[in-house]
Symmetry: C3
Subunit: 200 residues, 3 copies
């Protein structure tokens, strides 16, 4: 089940990367690169800084197939993609929940402190978008208009609280994943975001 | 011979980085950094993601000497560099061929899938330029106007086809390297590039 | 004592990152990320390229506490921060000296050539600011208006000269650290910087 969620998240991330690259008038090569970094960039940074190499996305070629096919289908059916908007948003949100938790577990495996582990989980879920924005020469959108980092952090905290009570791993995953997903859905529905700290 | 090609490629990459940094009105330190990342950045990303650390360019100080001297000579003889344009383009193209194949072999050494290996070869050859463009605050030129990624991918495919027939390693290197070089020379001569996917 | 200097340097770097992120109208999450990369980004690149993983800043959670509290205090007392300008500049300069020397020693530990070690020391001290500027969509200021790279390089060279005479490690640290600090203070006082290589 985790694998299915992972692939659905990869599809959602790859499609979002493709759409942004198309807006920037990139060619096929550029689009595929942007789709790839959006999909696997967060996990890549996580693996590189904790020393988990070769990084995970290189070890399983199905990510490559998923990204290339999602990206090409998006290019071909670009005008129709709007119909999938809601499903994609859902996949994206579920993906974020999963990547946060996987990031936290990988950090725990190398004996890092819970606070560091939550930071690494958040990085895993959000830095694909950061690299995408940098390659597109934009200030990362997540730094200006908080979209989901707070949700990841909330989920991360619940992960550690639940672990403290020695609950079953799958149960912890489901509860803290649901917290991340719910927090983000609520934030988007009610247009809640962190305030800009700029005072003019 | 491979070592000579490697150094010639490094010179060509360092000079191209220097010229772009000069246009951006950087000082000596900035110019040297841009020259270095252009020359060794692709291989650095390759080594970091496959876990080959300390990364290769740190292990052999001759790259540093080559980059610093190429860069300083370019600054001093800037007005004359145009006479070398054709040779530099040739070194650059041969370098790309070599870096692609070295990248593929390093990926195979850590047991990665052929498709992943070709991606890593292409990254080795092209991401020096990507980092250069990001540090210069530009959208990477390679994402908009395909220059050589397709050539790298063609060469990578031939590498694996030839390996399948158990040919001699040096022969495989020469044939697939020549394919990369020829593909790029033809593309530049006839101004072939991937079409932008943007439809206005 | 080294640990104290390290923390003071981290505070100075985190505050400088926070101030720049505030100018870019980022939200709290963006500000914390920029503060963190400014403070630990140089050391992170150093650790990643020499293969020292998990990277050091993940292993000691006190950096995280230091960065978060420095950043939040800066946000709250933003209008008062100007009174600390001189102390911050001093902490920053001392931090640069320390990070250069620590970078050099980590490079020596993995048997890298002195010239490479000096380059890694300089990267440790200066690339936090480079990543900060890239995330803020600016050409890194250090590439245009040399602030301290030359000081780091001078200090690195003295480190190796002194090591050649087998002096005590702490003495070498103090002398070459002082050279870096003095060189930077003089450069700033007399507004010395590398000339732009651009000729219009």
């Amino acid at each position: 089940m985790i694998y299915t969620i992972d692939i659905l998240g990869t599809i959602a991330f790859a499609i979002s990367g493709t759409l942004i690259a198309l807006e920037k008038r990139m060619d096929l090569f550029g689009v595929l690169i942007i789709a790839s970094v959006t999909a696997v960039g967060g996990g890549a940074i996580r693996d590189v800084i904790i020393g988990n190499t070769p990084i995970s996305c290189l070890k399983d070629v199905s990510y490559t197939y998923t990204i290339i096919s999602s990206s090409i289908l998006t290019i071909v059916f670009k005008s129709k993609i709007n119909y999938l908007r809601k499903s994609l948003f859902l996949f994206d949100t579920i993906g974020i929940g999963l990547y946060t938790l996987i990031g936290i577990e990988k950090a725990i495996e190398v004996n890092l402190h819970p606070i560091i582990a939550i930071a690494i989980g958040t990085i895993s879920a959000s830095f694909g978008g950061v690299i995408r924005d940098i390659l597109c020469n934009e200030i990362p959108v997540i730094f200006r208009k908080e979209i989901y980092a707070t949700a990841c952090i909330l989920g991360g905290i619940s992960y550690f609280i639940l672990s403290f009570y020695n609950l079953d791993r799958m149960l912890i995953f489901i509860i803290s994943g649901s917290i991340i997903i719910t927090a983000r859905l609520i934030a988007v529905k009610f247009k809640i975001s962190l305030p800009s700290l700029y005072k003019s």
